[in-house]
Symmetry: C2
Subunit: 346 residues, 2 copies
Amino acid sequence: MPKTKVTIKDVAREADVNPSVVSRVLNKDSTLKVREETRERVWEAAAKLNYRPNRMAKMLRTKKSKMIAVLISKFSDLYFTAILEGIVWVAEERGYIISVFSTEEDRKKGSKCIETVYEYGMDGAILASSYVEEKTLQQLRYSSVPMVMLRRSSREFGVMGMLADELAGVSMVMEHLIGLGHQKIAHISGELFSRSGLKRFEGYRKALYENGIPYRVEYVQESDQTEKGSYDAMMRLLELEDPPTAVFAFNDTVAFGAMSAIRDKGLRIPDDISVVGHDNTILSEHTYPRLTTVDSRMKDMGELAAKMLIDAIEGKENAGERGEPECDIKIEPRFVVRESTGRVRK
Amino acid sequence: MPKTKVTIKDVAREADVNPSVVSRVLNKDSTLKVREETRERVWEAAAKLNYRPNRMAKMLRTKKSKMIAVLISKFSDLYFTAILEGIVWVAEERGYIISVFSTEEDRKKGSKCIETVYEYGMDGAILASSYVEEKTLQQLRYSSVPMVMLRRSSREFGVMGMLADELAGVSMVMEHLIGLGHQKIAHISGELFSRSGLKRFEGYRKALYENGIPYRVEYVQESDQTEKGSYDAMMRLLELEDPPTAVFAFNDTVAFGAMSAIRDKGLRIPDDISVVGHDNTILSEHTYPRLTTVDSRMKDMGELAAKMLIDAIEGKENAGERGEPECDIKIEPRFVVRESTGRVRK
DNA sequence: CTGAAAGCGCTTACAG
DNA sequence: CTGAAAGCGCTTACAG
């Protein structure tokens, strides 16, 4: 192992050429005309000495670090692993390493992370957290470091944005339930001031309307997205005079809370009431019964984000100015039918 | 933002001193005697220009990257997030950034990751994966890059090791069950060629012996640690002539499989049979009923690993050769009682 | 076809 | 108390 680091000079000496030739051969510089025999000598020398170019020197010279930053808000985020997996997968393929930062739901800290990204000369960043000071966020537009924001629209900050197609997902949920004969469909919503909370509620209303099912205010319960809050919300639904036969929960965690309430009321899922979640987190395979849900395809989102980012990074080299950064990419969700939904009871 | 990067020369010009003075002031070089007034001018100039030293240049010069690598085997590992959280927490505190690599259960790939760690000049690495070629592993001993291995003994590779105290955890499980009056305690083991599989089985036998409970071969079922395999193992237990009243499952996933089998047999948990898991993964809070389990304190393990690693990195600077790397640190588990265990039925 | 030189942005002995 | 210089290990115009 690197007892004494072997440098380009060592290789040059071994191959009996100038260091610059070593560099150009090893980097496959196409503009270089070199005798085949020399080229081989260089490769052999490099292999013999087990030469690994020093990245730090390379970085300093080329202004390219081959490092990408990923900002997340908190580790307990159930999406985090899937997103990161997708990112790491394509990053590795394209020769980048990734560095993880946690903003911790603290905008000051988020801004510091961005500072660090610049300081370390990272080539780009994927922001899966928007806990960043407004000021910093606004400056992103003028930064020469490409970034892509997950779950945020590009229009806000002039960087590439990537979103789930919320309406499409909810539409799948509602078609499924209506197809099973349900008419009394309730919705335990997320916070109705967040984008996804609003979007999913909108999709719910839209589907009812399009299917000629009257909207009932009492069938919509806002939850704080905790299990406890969702449990309470479900209890309120179950205590209605005319309780629903199916519930569309804002996400899987909310669905869990709801399922507990249903069981505590002595009702069976899906015989008495059907439950649908959203997000297809690791948890949804492990509920009892296993949860029907919408897969937001977070791994795919991570992959796509990394691809777009790296394209932007490498495109920049040629293009000079980066082109249209202000585009939103939508990811189509997938519907996953498991055991928590069934035909409506007669 | 960094439209045109400001360098140490810009600050020097602004403060009207030599770049070397800027460097020494900003790095709080204690050997430097400098007029208070000059010092202030430097700080002001740096602040005014919003100067951030270029890490790449600094790295190249000082041979310190302030970067730590974390190797994991796969993203679906339920421990991963907790370990990483602990690591990131202390790394940030001490001024290091962390870089994540996935070995993917592929030793070749693992060795490549290690290569990359050297190439990028990382200051140290935490190996939460041992999917690394044997050859590479053996060379770790002679590497000048400090490393700590998680869930592996140090003796194998001459690097610091960190282990859970398996026997202590199992002992807690058994005391709990015996305290609830259980005598017919089964064990769905993990693979009996893995360290943890063996250790937990050993703990199970030991506890039986120490409590004067006879060991019954048919009460131990080896599982492949999948849910399906564990389901089958539990079914075998339930079909015994004299079935157990309590089961200690190798880990939470195994416990899930077992719980499904119990439910499918029409039995209730914990009324008819108690179930204990191991690891306190995110899942265990979400089973029905919620799972009693052993908390391996992975976040703490991550924190401790990062602390030890950074101490080694920084200790090296002074100490020259690093001291005793061959030490195993054991993490004491904690027992978490939830709802899947109860008094034995009369 | 290959070499010599400059320079990326820092830090650190060494002068003065 | 502060400055000038060398050098970390590369890459890349420029010579020849």
